[in-house]
């Protein structure tokens, strides 16, 4: 018998983009657009990206890093208000192990000529999910922040 445990966590991230809410929303609702930015790692091999953007529709993406452990994202859309809000539930698998189940809320509000985006995730982390992946993701983030800095320099 494996041991079970659950840790809950909530976090929010805010970004302001110099683009109108309709355009930022489209980057989330249109599959070809979303595929351009959603996979976070250039050296990971993305699988097929399925996306059925409507309430009750599913989104699936599997990404495999060089070490070969597939990260599987599986979402179901719960609430869609065009240009304003998206809520979906999703889980993450490492190979066959479910490591988290989450509710994600994305809110878009006009801010001058741009858009304020607030991403909130309420997550249940399952069964001692170790932080090996987390360390990789942190390294990735640093590169991402550098890119962002370069963009607005």
């Amino acid at each position: 018998m494996s041991e079970r445990n659950t840790h809950h966590a909530t976090f929010s991230i805010e970004r302001i983009y110099p683009a109108a809410p309709a355009r930022v929303f489209k980057a989330w609702s249109d599959q070809p657009s979303k595929a351009r930015w959603f996979a976070c790692h250039d050296d990971w091999t993305p699988g097929k990206h399925e996306m059925d953007f409507r309430v009750g529709g599913r989104e699936r993406l599997s990404m495999t890093p060089p070490d070969g452990v597939a990260h599987r994202f599986d979402a179901i859309y719960q609430d869609i208000v065009p240009g304003e809000r998206i809520i979906y539930a999703y889980d993450m698998h490492l190979d066959d192990r479910r490591i988290s189940v989450s509710l994600a809320t994305v809110e878009f509000t006009a801010e001058g000529k741009g858009t304020r985006l607030v991403f909130t995730e309420q997550a249940a982390f399952l069964d001692g999910f170790d932080d090996v992946g987390a360390r990789d993701r942190k390294l990735g983030t640093e590169a991402g922040l550098d890119n962002l800095g370069a963009m607005f320099a």
């Binding site: 041991e3 079970r4 445990n5 659950t6 840790h7 809950h8 966590a9 909530t10 976090f11 991230i13 970004r15 983009y17 110099p18 683009a19 355009r23 930022v24 980057a27 657009s33 351009r36 930015w37 959603f38 976070c40 988290s100 985006l117 991403f119 995730e121 997550a123 982390f125 069964d127 001692g128 999910f129 170790d130 932080d131 992946g133 987390a134 360390r135 993701r137 942190k138 990735g140 983030t141 590169a143 991402g144 922040l145 890119n147 962002l148 963009m151």
Partner: protein, 144 residues
Amino acid sequence: MPEFCEILKLMLNYSRSAKTAGKTPSGPLLDLVFQALADPARRGMVERLASGPASVSELAQPLAMSLPAVMQHLQVLEASGLVRSEKIGRVRTCRVEKTALRMVENWVAGRRANWEKRLDRLGEFLAEEDEQTEEQPKKRRSKP
């Protein structure tokens, strides 16, 4: 240290809602960390120590409790690995143990970091789209 405060805030949110039942390899120590942070007096002690090492009497001073009570809280913090103390002469000095903090932080920060990177990429994608649409009118191209 704003970064440390952010970590602590995440951990406190996290510890409030943590339900622990298991003993996976990383489980028991995490459970102790969450138990340690579930108490407001102990959170206060950790926050105080975040700004630098302190003696037990310095820790006790702002708290309305006896020295033995403070020592008990300190024992819980030490058992969790969040705080270390050493006695030099007659003074016991306490400090925050960063490794334990980092372990808990990784759970939440890893997921958060992943999303920060994604949202940065979204910004880059939008900027690329901008460049494309700016080029088009100059060339007086009609819409496809």
